[in-house]
């Protein structure tokens, strides 16, 4: 690869990927532990990674159990509670029983509404943030899945075949990373009609976001996979399979792919927060998830007119995004360090 065409982080990541492969052997038989066991031990000692891992699990659980949690602690996310709102200023009363006490800058937090209620509509913020987690994680996971599928397929082919195939795919990676992604997403929302492939409304919007991320962000995964494959294809077991008459398909799928599972999982974890931010950004701009379905980004854009009188309405959805993204980032960093053979025990 010529230096000028490098893209952020590629050198470092490719290096880490290369060494990760070669180090699997040496260390493993010396201590009689597999790389996965070593990594798990390291991960357990990494407090930051463990805590963020727990947060990630809790977030996923919260998203999955959103219907139950809102039943116990909140109200349906689309239920209007306009009796809690001062109709003239459109923000919640301090005490709905005594409207003369005025309005609450902190959004009417009570045991009934744990995070208060939205301005104007009075919808329960707690349940909207929970349901927002559903959308956010759903989009991020689906998009990451598409990236991984395309990235793995192309990366493994580029790394294994080499030659002009590799040149074309590597060039394509550079080109795809140079696209103005947000603009493309905005454009797609503008040109794709309702009802494509039976998708309408938010189903369609989710489809568009997943498509745009999957279709344009696969190079991040492809780079890692390509680097790993380059190292793997020189290994003895590949040689052995070849000499036994195995075809390319068999070698790629049965011999090389299983060795790529770990790095793919590690880098997928680091791709998820990027995708969460992307969905939230599009929703904030009004080209992502549409109301009344709750989405963190959309909530923040609805908070814009109230940023003076009701800052809580910025803080809660914003913190939801921040905590989720930070947890995934920290956990992903921890995973990467744990599997990185250059980290010493």
């Amino acid at each position: 690869m010529s230096a000028p065409s490098q893209v952020p982080g590629s050198v470092e990541e490719a290096d880490a990927a290369d060494t990760a492969v070669t180090a699997t052997e040496g260390r493993g038989d010396a201590a009689n532990r597999s790389l996965r066991q070593i990594a798990w031990q390291r991960l357990r000692r990494d407090k930051v990674a463990m805590v963020s891992g727990v947060v990630v699990v809790l977030l996923i659980l919260a998203a999955l159990l959103a219907p139950l949690l809102t039943k116990w602690f909140g109200h349906p996310p689309t239920q209007f509670n306009q009796d809690l709102i001062d109709p003239s200023r459109r923000i919640p009363y301090l005490d709905p029983e005594n409207p003369e006490l005025g309005v609450d800058r902190w959004g009417g937090i009570s045991s009934d509404h744990l995070l208060g209620v939205e301005p104007t509509t009075g919808r329960d913020l707690f349940s909207r943030i929970l349901y927002g987690a559903q959308i956010s994680l759903l989009v991020a996971f689906l998009a990451t899945l598409v990236c991984v599928a395309i990235g793995t397929a192309l990366g493994i082919i580029a790394g294994y075949m080499g030659g002009w195939v590799d040149t074309i795919i590597s060039r394509a990676m550079d080109i795809f990373l140079a696209f103005p992604l947000v603009l493309f997403a905005i454009a797609l929302v503008g040109v794709i009609p309702e009802g494509v492939m039976g998708l309408t409304g938010n189903g369609l919007r989710i489809g568009v976001i997943v498509f745009i991320i999957g279709f344009f962000n696969w190079p991040y995964i492809a780079r890692i996979v390509r680097g790993q494959t380059l190292a793997l294809r020189e290994r003895e077991f590949v040689e052995a399979a070849k000499s036994l008459g195995a075809g390319n398909g068999h070698i790629l799928v049965k011999e090389i792919l299983p060795n790529l599972v770990t790095p793919i999982i590690v880098y997928s974890t680091l791709l998820i927060p990027t995708n969460i931010l992307f969905e939230a950004a599009l929703s904030f701009l009004g080209v992502g998830i549409n109301p009344p379905t709750p989405s963190w980004g959309k909530m923040l854009s609805e908070a814009v007119p109230f940023y003076q009188q009701a800052p809580y309405f910025i803080i809660f959805p914003g913190m939801a995004i921040f905590i989720t993204v930070l947890a995934f980032n920290l956990f992903g960093d921890g995973l990467r360090d744990a599997f990185d053979p250059r980290t010493s025990d």
């Binding site: 050198v11 990373l177 493309f184 454009a187 980032n329």
Partner: protein, 348 residues
């Protein structure tokens, strides 16, 4: 070739030509993809030529008018013909006839808005100063801030400063700009009054006012990027500081300052310059989120507003221009490369 020997001038020329070729290729591909998104994908998704016409000109009063638009825009032509037309319009301009009136969209015609009845490029260029002020100003802050924090962190690895800086950087990359921006507006501007509430004024009219308005958007946008630059710089510096030639430089008695700034920092800057090219290119194509949050009427805000008003040609124009910026910035970086890192010239 002997390493270290000055490269023959032909090598340099070769390099420049190769990079120019690569830039041109990138531009062609991005243009083709943009065309595909706007003209081919909708057709695959089942939009009729009439439907496409309606998307580009807004709902026409009669089916006949719509049919006329289809004809005028050539939307019923085969994709290949449309693509050639599309490219020709960009290169040589285009004319549209409305009854007896003919309007011209001069080259480079990035599209014609039927909502405002004017070519889109001049309108986009009108808003470019805002976006440029935002992007370039923020870039200065994030490069200087990010790189110096990264260098300090690497030099004082493990110190309290390093930990704090890297912690902050990690938080920085996890904070979306529409959150920090809104928080800044809510607290720094409205509650504490640290920054003035004012509208954008051009640099040429009122430099002080311009600076005051732009400062908060700059800091907000820069914070996000600075985090990434600090992390990258620190990682690069730590790697270079372990190199043999650094030991040599120290052994021959160079001052630590010289070792760090002259010998260690330079190779670290190579990947930084690459990212910078991409980032500035992206930002010039519209720092959409920042512009929206701070109500700056820039290119990005124009694109998103045009989606709301269903003025699709504007979105197409901004997308194309954004792609051009990315390609041009990449090209500039490629050409700067041999200056930053002389080894590049020797590469094949």
């Amino acid at each position: 070739m002997i390493p270290g020997a000055p490269p023959p001038p032909t090598a340099m020329l070769n390099y420049i030509l190769r990079r120019l070729g690569a830039g041109l290729l990138l531009l062609t591909v991005v243009t083709a993809v943009t065309f595909w998104i706007f003209y081919v994908l909708p057709r695959w998704a089942g939009v009729t030529p009439q439907g496409m016409a309606a998307m580009y000109v807004g709902k026409a009063p009669t089916p006949e008018a719509l049919e006329a638009t289809v004809e005028r825009l050539g939307l019923d032509q085969p994709v290949a013909v449309q693509f050639v037309e599309f490219i020709r319009s960009i290169l040589f301009g285009q004319e549209f006839t409305f009854g007896r009136e003919t309007v011209e969209c001069a080259a480079p015609c990035l599209g014609y808005s039927f909502t405002t009845n004017s070519p889109v490029l001049p309108q986009i260029l009108d808003r470019l100063p805002v976006t440029m002020s935002l992007g370039l100003g923020a870039a200065v802050i994030w490069v200087v801030g990010g790189v110096s924090v990264g260098v300090l962190s690497a030099v004082k690895k493990g110190s309290i400063f390093d930990r704090l800086a890297m912690g902050t950087a990690l938080i920085g990359v996890s904070l979306p700009i529409y959150f920090t921006g809104l928080l800044a507006l809510s607290f720094l501007v409205h509650q504490w009054g640290l920054f003035p509430v004012s509208r954008y004024v051009p640099l040429t009219e009122d430099p002080v006012g311009w600076y005051q308005v732009m400062l908060l958007p700059w800091i907000t946008l820069a914070f996000l990027h600075a985090a990434q630059y600090a992390r990258q710089t620190r990682a690069g510096m730590l790697e270079t500081l372990n190199e043999d030639y650094i030991r040599t430089a120290r052994a021959k008695g160079l001052s630590e300052r010289k070792v760090i700034f002259k010998h260690a920092l330079r190779p670290t800057l190579t990947p930084i310059v690459t990212i910078l090219g991409l980032d500035i290119g992206m930002v010039l194509g519209g720092a959409i989120l920042t512009e929206k949050v701070f109500s700056l009427n820039g290119v990005g805000a124009y694109a998103i507003d045009s989606i709301v008003s269903k003025d699709l040609p504007v979105v197409l124009g901004v997308t194309l221009l954004g792609a051009v910026f990315i390609v041009v910035c990449n090209l500039i970086v490629d050409l700067l490369y041999p200056v930053v890192d002389p080894r590049v010239r020797l590469a094949k």
